[in-house]
Symmetry: C2
Subunit: 406 residues, 2 copies
Amino acid sequence: MKYIAIIGYGVVGSGITAVLEANRSKISRVIGDDIEVRYILDLREFPGSPYGDRVVHDISVITGDPEVELVCETMGGSHPAYEFSVACMKAKKCVVTSNKEVVANYGDMLLECAAENGVSYLFEASVGGGIPVIRSLNTSMSQDNISRITGIVNGTTNYILTAMKNEGRDFADVLSEAQRLGYAERDPSADIDAIDAKRKIIILTALATGLLLPDDKVYAGSIRKVEVEDIRAADRLGYSLKLVASFCRDGNGMVSFAAPAFVPMTSPISSVDGVYNGIWVRSDTTGDVMYYGMGAGSLPTAGAVMADVCAALSGAAAAEYVPVFRKSSEADGIIHFRDTENSFYLRYDGTIGELEEALKAACPGFRGTVRDVSCNGSVTEVIIEKITLSELEKVTRSSLPILILQ
Amino acid sequence: MKYIAIIGYGVVGSGITAVLEANRSKISRVIGDDIEVRYILDLREFPGSPYGDRVVHDISVITGDPEVELVCETMGGSHPAYEFSVACMKAKKCVVTSNKEVVANYGDMLLECAAENGVSYLFEASVGGGIPVIRSLNTSMSQDNISRITGIVNGTTNYILTAMKNEGRDFADVLSEAQRLGYAERDPSADIDAIDAKRKIIILTALATGLLLPDDKVYAGSIRKVEVEDIRAADRLGYSLKLVASFCRDGNGMVSFAAPAFVPMTSPISSVDGVYNGIWVRSDTTGDVMYYGMGAGSLPTAGAVMADVCAALSGAAAAEYVPVFRKSSEADGIIHFRDTENSFYLRYDGTIGELEEALKAACPGFRGTVRDVSCNGSVTEVIIEKITLSELEKVTRSSLPILILQ
């Protein structure tokens, strides 16, 4: 018998016991032994649950039990998740997590701590819910050079943007419906201000490059100011408006960001709708691969946690290539998204001539082009090429500039 | 230094040396050692190649060299690929293959031989080219119950069907163009008669269930008789016409097949076009996941071979869950696709009344429904529900009956 503990018994944590019950025989076959949940750490009690008698409130009960081989950290947030994970690994327990915040902020130290203590630290469930993208990047693609990742990695915002498109309703209206239905949190900022997507692209970038980017090197663009008109314009011009998380590397350097963008209809991620996630990876030899599936939800995410539990307890994870993350430095050639030249769509409250004047005044260095894509006389719509977001933000009387993904 | 050999130096085999050159440093990092190709077995000589001096013509040179740890079998076909693979594993060498025919026919015996000799037999490249679907099924999803797999796994036929749709050209015309461009072989039967797709669904079914289905339990439906009218009807009725490879399991039993089918536009695989592959997997906890990418080509396929080489030589493959395939028996409840009730689209050379008479005469047991979906007075188009292909094939004066995927 292998004993595990779960710390944080919320949506994902309780999904783990559900998956364990449902798939017990297959899990035992993979691990070569049965699994039992010995402890559940939570602030609450669960008197009605069959696991109610395993609830503890003190992490030292878990770290102090030498029979517990693995801990599932599904509490979320950086603290005390980081400290608890370190304590468990120092007590020679593997740690498996669904917590993207702690991996994005402390992944380098957590992987180092795991290596020092001869245990595994695994985080498949931190990106893309049940989609097995992290193990794929880490095993199947570990020998390849990844040059680009473009993903739709936040189900809440994708649900909102899809509903705005399909029903022509505005952002605030759809957001409050999503909150009522439980698709968005009461404080929705982590999702709609792209903080969640940013954490996920930080993790994917680290898997592709080994570099864990600091928070201030990764742009997060909110979707709060996206208007139905933007979505209509995208559609008319052959794009889907999506909140994309992107990593891109070329001869000039690398950039990672999360931002609302026009995605060409020809891209496989343009049709990833609703609460689904899609992650598209380009590498030198494999070419383009896309992973698609349920990016959130209790069972899919708990299933990903369980896949990691199996990898850790079967010994497979220890034999796999273990990534090493290091904090990036100046020498790594990281460019902030604000400072990269791109194409943007926007509506301007004035004539094309006035916009060109405003651009000249605000951005003396601007050498790009302004293309008129207006569809009626009353609104000036343009695509501005070869301009940075920093420059564009100086231009007033403009709607939210929306990146056009190449 | 780790020494490997390549047997069969064609499109994939030569891709392996190209990938090795391009990604040498990443590959060494993953394996923890450098790799060198010591032998290339082929009937031909390659005097101009930098690997020309390593060409041998006798497998015993490879099996007799104890320093060779791994052999890439990229020769294709069942024989002598099977015998050579067994000989290499008996000589304690891992074998990695891109050969779907030998895995579909002899996967059970090859995996058993690997286990007996304490080596790995890996076949990521046998399905989906560079798409890492096999390792995902085998690791991330090994603890889950897979109830359905639907894939577009043959790039040649998908290219043909996509061109028929986009350009309105007929099958023979597009096929000869595909042959001219090198997308289809001179003898195209393995692709267009769905033999290749059938082998791939046999492999995917074995990964999902452990059962290696014999050839005669898996239906392969050719696309030779697909007409432009079928593709137009699919489009009008909200479907894409695709050659799908499918495994499905429910309370009644399991069925695997490859056949042209109407795929609902709402399915993520309906938009997999051209030479791309898409494989959609439904499981109890993870829900729906789709893998999408280049299903063929020298570098993507060789990249998948190299991922297996890395897994084998790093020791990861030995620690992963190793699948066991067994030949299926009567007790496994396998139903032939011909005998499962489904819905089909067809055009009938006669009136609806005549078709109903013909159905009554040919299939006395028929209790389904006939739905008129004609779009003009001159052609009778119907969707027949709750009928088997065996029954439908008795009805003459009909176009190719095309499955409607649920």
